[in-house]
């Protein structure tokens, strides 16, 4: 436990989920504290959606336990569902109903008391910034509005835990920014939030990040921790003309552990920056790369991500 007070809000313990032979989740454990924002990062098919669906009780675990608010999801799915909010990857409100009709419907089936309903609808409409468009059909709303409305619908019943499965995919940057402000506000109110994403910049907004690949948790920590410790070396940026052609040479150069392409720049992971910068520079000059420039840089989350995922591939993880 690195965050929160008292009991963790979410406990995932040795979770395994198999679909036939395929292990979508293979022994995942972590906890999320009260009011904590936990980010889930991983390539497509890594098991992020499966994990969130198990936490919501939509799928049953093959082995292991999942507790939300101290309660076993597999044993008390209905009680747990009363206390959680969920936004699936796909937009899932009714396009042919209006904003208020959608909210009233979801409030109704979540059991929001009729005395509180109007106030909660007002709250959700204001939060989504949809004041004045209450009667617009949802199908006519733009992406950012739809997504904030979906968030509003997911918290009508004041859940203590929120699961968001790639909530910002396909939404413009300004709307994404605004969406994250809402998430932070909820977190300050004590709502625990588990959010999956594949935007690196969004991961930086999370208190902690879990990196998941091939159904396994391969790193867990604050963005800062991940950036500093996960690489196991220092990072160099290598620039120059037609640098892609030189990639193989850089890879073979002594002390270089890993090379990855970022646009037109190479990122090379080396044991000691001080020693390797002149070596690589000399190599490139010898190869006739014009404008070669090598310098030490601070690693980004993306570097950790690529490094860790690449490592897993290289070490011969063969699961499909």
């Amino acid at each position: 436990m690195t965050a929160g007070d008292g009991q963790p809000q979410i406990v995932v313990d040795a979770l395994v989920k198999r679909f036939g032979e395929f292990a979508a989740l293979d022994g995942v454990s972590f906890t999320v504290g009260r009011g904590e924002i936990m980010g889930f990062l991983g390539p497509n098919g890594a098991g992020k959606s499966t994990l969130i669906r198990i936490l919501c009780g939509l799928l049953r675990p093959t082995a292991g336990r999942v507790l939300v608010g101290g309660m076993d999801v597999a044993k008390n799915p209905e009680t747990v569902r009363q206390r959680i909010g969920y936004m699936s990857q796909k937009f899932s409100l009714y396009g042919d109903l209006s904003v208020v009709e959608n909210l009233r419907f979801f409030g109704g089936i979540y059991g929001v008391p009729s005395g509180e309903m109007e106030e909660r609808l007002r709250f959700a409409v204001d939060m989504a910034g949809l004041g004045g468009r209450e009667d617009a059909l949802v199908a006519t709303l733009a992406g950012g509005w739809k997504q904030r409305l979906a968030l509003g619908a997911a918290i009508l019943h004041r859940p203590l835990t929120l699961f968001l499965d790639e909530p910002t995919s396909g939404v413009d940057p300004a709307s994404r920014r605004r969406f994250w402000d809402l998430i932070h506000t909820l977190s300050e109110d004590g709502v625990s939030i588990l959010v999956s994403t594949h935007y690196m910049d969004e991961a930086e907004y999370c208190r902690r990040i879990a990196l998941i690949n091939h159904g396994r948790l391969i790193a867990l920590g604050t963005p800062r921790e991940l950036k500093q410790h996960s690489l196991g070396g220092e990072l160099l940026s290598v620039e120059g003309e037609r640098i892609g052609d030189a990639m193989v040479q850089v890879q073979k150069s002594p002390g270089v552990k890993d090379v990855a392409m970022f646009g037109s720049i190479l990122h090379a992971l080396v044991d000691q920056a001080q020693l390797r910068v002149p070596e690589i520079e000399a190599l490139l000059v010898a190869r006739g790369v014009a404008g070669a420039r090598v310098r030490r840089i601070e690693p980004s989350l993306e570097d950790s991500f690529v490094h860790l995922v690449g490592t897993q591939f290289a070490s011969g993880e063969t699961s499909p």
Binding site: R81, L93, F105, L137
Partner: protein, 377 residues
């Protein structure tokens, strides 16, 4: 519980209100089909295209041919000059029936003996062929009887055998004129309801699965039974409305009498609808996309239709298939709707069908609820 079902109902009717094409799909096709069935679906045989070869060319032969031609059952399309032409006419489907009066036909009759008459029938459509042949037998029989009576009179009973015959005293109950429309129209009410409601129910849930709203509903505390009741109740009401409209068209437009107690039919319809909704639900739990649902519906509805006794008598089916008819809700509903329409019988007679429908409906519905629970895993 009722609160949640109520919210689902509100949502369903709002969606239906917004969906103009759904309203069209609900009302227009059933009415069009009803009208089509009412006019086109008939077992009766009229105007059979007939080719005649009269090789006798006598007063008698011409009289017999006239009897055929003047009945509404046969229509003379060609007069052949030889056997070859008769064969050609049948082969090219110009005629479905050929009548050949052989030479010497009248001579035999005048001697008071039986004379042969050849009838060639295109048996491709066995049903029509059989019925046409029946009429041909009736017409030639009547002709023979009339001729014998006449001959006996003229010759002072010297010729023409004394007639000994059994006279059928026919009384057709419930449908005195054997109007096949009376048979079909009530059946169509049942069949159309089956098709429309199974489709609506299956598609409604599969669409939510496809669009993703189903997943959003599944993470709410709603219980499967609440969701299923909330989701099927609208279609139950639509089903009742549809039966009323289609039945009204049958009675008002096609003048099919309704002799029974409407409440008995209402009870039967309610029980039938439970089974039909459950079948739609079961299909929806098996399908991920609307295309799959479409294929499954076809796969399920066609056998149900064939095994229901709608047009093919169950008693003529092989024993194994007859067993399957017992799990076909349409089988029982057709008995209920035809009996209430034409015979006017009540629960004292129809209780076995009502019981069977109730058991089937409960069983299927329970199965659907159980299956639905697990469906996302």
């Amino acid at each position: 519980m009722f609160e949640r079902i109520f919210h689902l109902l509100v949502k369903e009717f709002l969606e239906l209100k917004r969906d103009k094409s759904a309203r069209f799909r609900l009302l227009i096709p059933p009415i069009i089909q009803m009208v089509l069935f009412g006019y086109a679906a008939t077992f009766e045989v009229f105007n059979v295209a007939t080719v005649v070869l009269d090789q006798d060319q006598t007063q008698e032969s011409r009289a017999l041919v006239a009897d055929f031609v003047h009945s509404s059952r046969f229509k003379l399309v060609a007069v052949a000059k030889d056997r070859r032409q008769v064969q050609d006419a049948v082969e090219s489907s110009t005629a479905q029936l050929g009548i050949v009066v052989p030479p010497g036909f009248a001579e035999l009759l005048r001697k008071g003996q039986s004379a042969p008459l050849q009838v060639l029938v295109d048996g491709t459509n066995s049903n029509t062929a059989l019925i046409a042949l029946g009429y041909a037998g009736q017409i030639s029989g009547n002709f023979g009887q009339g001729y014998a009576q006449d001959l006996a009179q003229r010759t002072g009973r010297a010729l023409g055998h004394p007639l000994v015959s059994v006279n059928l005293q026919e009384r057709y109950w419930y449908n005195p004129n054997l109007n096949s429309r009376w048979f079909f129209v009530p059946g169509v009410v049942g069949t159309l309801t089956l098709i429309t409601i199974v489709n609506l129910t299956a598609f409604a849930i599969v669409r939510e699965r496809e669009v993703g709203t189903l997943e959003q509903i599944l993470v709410t505390p709603i219980r499967p039974i609440e969701f299923i009741i909330g989701k099927t109740l609208p279609f139950f009401l639509i089903g009742l409305l549809e039966v009323s409209i289609v039945a009204a068209v049958g009675m008002i437009w096609f003048q099919v009498p309704f002799k029974g107690n409407p409440l008995v039919l209402l009870l039967g319809t309610c029980l039938f609808l439970i089974s039909v909704l459950a079948i739609g639900l079961l299909i929806s739990t098996l399908c991920k996309t609307q295309q799959q649902a479409f294929a499954s519906n076809f796969f399920v509805l066609n056998p149900m239709f064939i095994l229901s006794g709608f047009s093919f008598p169950i008693s003529s089916m092989p024993a194994v298939l007859q067993w399957f008819t017992y799990i076909d809700p349409l089988r029982y509903f057709l008995v209920i709707i035809r009996s209430t329409y034409l015979k006017g019988v009540g629960l004292d007679i129809l209780w076995p069908q009502m019981t069977a429908l109730a058991i089937l409906g409960m069983g299927l519905y329970t199965l659907a609820v159980l299956r639905f629970h697990k469906s996302l895993d």
